[in-house]
């Protein structure tokens, strides 16, 4: 096991990783930008190094600075968290060249899964159904037209290097197709420096279901069941739960088995999330794999009882996974709500500022992951997520009730947060019945 690692991230995930390190008796080195220098989690770290000014590109995204911090603190490994450098293959490669273990997948696996066209190839080799689509990138022309007509409209154009909705177009007929391809290419070029796009069948009102997987360097891999993350606003997840409430046992086994096959096919090591769309007939289609730990990993931890960050650290240190699939059981229902410093009444615009009154929820079935506290200044510089509330109960109905109770007692003043929006979602008739899909928020709020 490692004796000392560096955490190349900030906020709640940095604290989350510090906690896991300390429970494994690993020294944790935190890095911070000048904007975060007051953060109490830095005091929990064994060392803390300032790596630059508030601007991410000069601190949390500054590879030279982070590698240098790792060198002067003499750590054995770097945990990138999520976001920032977590899926940056250049960073992972430099870590390797500097003799520092990157706590994540091998560079090759990260590259393959990070490229969506390549990921589809892997899925096909693993005999996992993808959303019908182009074999590779497409361009404006008769081939694209034929393909769209073969799979049937609506179709969707997506950026190969993309994410977060940029470089994406839904097309309903031949006439729109040309302009959609061209504008998507232009947008992708600007956003990702890569104008490649591909075409897929557009699945109407799908659920977003993802499988948590963990693989060790000996080729042994297990899954931790699925999460349903259909509650999204502009591709940002707001409420996540595990298990997916509408899956039957057989479909769940097929889904999780498919995710494992993709991970094994890509020679993946460490934590990954394999994402699927689930259509109304409970057919699932692979969409992409995320080569990192995710924000919503705690819901999986609650229903399985396994600490995923500890497993990441153990695997990265070369230890084999001692868990077998039958050790991993689904127990009850967990839901996570993201508390963002945003104003739901003002189109969810960020709402930074000093928190002058803060009382977190507690009690039976409630977990809070946060780096904030009374007196914390929510910076406009970084992600607006300031806390995650996770509940665990025996049934989904009880989990919803406990979450409503927990959010109802959560006091964060004077800044606005997404708590009222989450409460509205939890009370919505369709959410309660779990008749939701990725368009639920857009249609109902």
């Amino acid at each position: 096991m490692f004796s000392k690692i560096l955490i190349a991230n900030r906020g709640e995930i940095a604290l989350r990783i510090i906690r896991a390190c300390h429970e494994l008796n690993i020294e944790a080195v935190a890095v911070y930008s000048e904007a975060d220098k007051e953060a109490p989690y830095l005091q929990l770290a064994d060392e803390a190094i300032c790596i630059g000014p508030a601007d991410c590109s000069k601190s949390y995204l500054n590879i030279a600075s982070i590698i240098s911090a790792a060198e002067i603190t003499d750590v054995e490994a770097i945990h990138p968290g999520y976001g920032f450098l977590a899926e940056n293959t250049e960073f992972a490669q430099i870590c390797g060249e500097c003799g520092i273990t990157f706590i994540g997948p091998p560079v090759e696996a990260m590259k393959n899964l990070g490229d969506k066209v390549m990921a589809r190839k892997i899925a096909k080799q693993a005999k996992v159904r993808c959303v019908p689509g182009s074999v590779g990138t497409i361009e404006d022309g008769p081939e694209a037209l034929k393909l769209a007509n073969d799979m049937g409209y609506p179709v969707i154009i997506k950026a190969s290097a993309g994410g977060g909705g940029r470089g994406m177009r839904i097309v309903h007929n031949d006439i729109s197709l040309r302009s959609a391809i061209n504008s998507a290419r232009a947008e992708a070029e600007v956003a990702f420096g890569n104008g490649d796009v591909y075409m897929e069948k557009f699945i109407v009102e799908p659920r977003h279901v993802e499988v948590q997987v963990m693989a060790d360097s000996k080729g042994h891999a297990v899954h931790f069941y699925e999460r349903d993350c259909s509650i999204q606003r502009r591709h940002q997840k707001m409420v996540e739960e595990s298990p997916c409430p509408i899956l039957d046992k057989k479909t769940r086994e097929e889904l999780c088995g498919s995710a494992l096959r993709i991970i094994k096919e890509s020679k993946y090591v460490n934590a990954a999330t394999v994402e699927f769309l689930l259509d109304k007939d409970k057919n699932f289609y692979f969409i992409e794999a995320n080569a990192r730990i995710q924000v919503e990993h705690p819901v999986t931890e609650m229903v399985t009882g396994h600490d995923l960050i500890k497993l990441q650290l153990q695997i990265a240190s070369g230890m084999p996974l001692t868990l077998t699939q039958k050790n991993i059981k689904l127990n009850g229902v967990a839901i996570e709500c993201r508390v963002n410093a945003e104003d739901p009444d003002n189109n969810f615009s960020p709402c930074p500022g000093r928190i002058t009154r803060y009382i977190p929820p507690g009690g039976f079935g409630v977990r809070v992951d946060t780096h904030v506290h009374q007196g914390w200044n929510v910076s406009p510089t970084y992600d607006s997520m300031i806390a995650k509330v996770i509940v665990h109960q025996k049934t989904r109905t009880e989990a919803i009730t406990t979450m409503k109770r927990a959010l109802g007692e959560f006091i964060i003043e004077p800044i606005k947060t997404t708590i009222p929006a989450c409460l509205e979602i939890l009370s919505h008739n369709l959410f309660v019945k779990s008749e939701v899909d990725t368009g639920f928020i857009e249609r109902n709020f």
Partner: protein, 161 residues
Amino acid sequence: MADKDIDIKKIKELIDIMKQNGLEVIEINHGDDKIYLKRSQPQSFSGPIITSMPTIKPEMAPSSGQANVTNSSGSAVPVDDSLITIKSPLVGTFYAKPSPDSDPFVETGTPVEPQTVVCIIEAMKVMNEIKAETSGTIVEAFVTDGQAVEYGQVLFKVKPD
């Protein structure tokens, strides 16, 4: 303003201006053109949490108005508004000399020009020469040869000419 009527809309507008600008008072005497504005004092928050980590200023600029900067060894740097600080612009290892058997680039008492190299900071196997970027005389060195430094850490104090 109109003679007869109080313009509610205008008052609301003024309130918005106050809010956006953190004003405490707006006084407008239209006859004889008097305007009186008062801005709120910056919010004094009773207890921000200071980590034991170094307090770092972003620029290698004069230290005027800087109080009690703490360096990484924990000792307080006395306030002297006339001194200029040279801070580390990157994380790495500090070298005082160009090679192990050379003399140091600078010592206390050494005069420096903006282009004078005061030290090397090694980051990712790259030796970065750090220049004084000011003129004056080194009056204090805060870091020893081979020591690790973080972003913004105070390296030297310079008394300007």
